[in-house]
Symmetry: C2
Subunit: 109 residues, 2 copies
DNA sequence: GAATTTGGTCGCAAAATTACGAACAATATT
DNA sequence: AATATTGTTCGTAATTTTGCGACCAAATTC
């Protein structure tokens, strides 16, 4: 296992950011957010990539905790993991709302 | 050049997320936000990695538009690019605040 | 029980990322 | 003009990511 060189919040935020750091995965999250039926097939249809690749991206999002899947044989239904979604939202919000040092406002032009 | 398979906002958001998808780069942004002196050397001191690697991460953040650098020979001063920072903030805010479909609330347990 | 449907997994290839030391460039100092 | 300081670039290695086709597994249907 990789050792932690940074504080846990930094690692966690980076982990969420990394999971969101691909357009296909952003597209998946946007799609899931607005759908009430979110089967694998629907997601696959929406994306310009092979199903094996879609499955990989879904696994990445699941590993990051941003989504979860449930088997409804023979289909698989995915949805946003609201608890972790809210946590990610909070971490990003804290990150972007930290006050920027004013002295430094025009350090670079 | 890579063709765009996704909408521009999705690509842009993913680009910002990707740039933030490493703990060292999160740590750099946090450090820059609170410092009024933000020379390369200060950033390097703060991180547990070699200076060549720090330089690479700074380049990644610069390419993403999140920071900018200015030469103050013999040092280099970095700071947050406030315009793009604000845009990233907006894109993430829109993303996390899109309303989630209610019908789907308990699609997975 | 063969065929179909739905997705996941495997194996592979190409490309990108991460990390480092060494060498380099530019300026300032001795 | 040598030396020192500051930070980038180069070359390299190891790992990870991305993407795909082919195959596999489970359940249903013919």
């Amino acid at each position: 296992m990789a050792e932690k060189k940074y504080c846990i919040k930094t690692e966690t935020l980076a982990g969420f950011a990394k999971a969101l750091g691909h357009p296909a995965r952003i597209a998946i999250m946007k799609f899931l957010a607005k759908q009430d039926t979110c089967y694998f097939g629907d997601i696959h249809e929406e994306l310009p990539i092979a199903k094996a690749t879609v499955s990989q991206h879904l696994t990445a999002l699941k590993d990051a905790g941003l989504i979860q899947g449930e088997i409804e044989t023979p289909k698989v239904k995915y949805c946003i993991n609201r608890e972790n979604w809210a946590y990610a939202q909070q971490l990003f919000s804290e990150f972007f709302n930290m006050e920027l040092c004013e002295k430094n406002e025009d350090c670079c032009k």
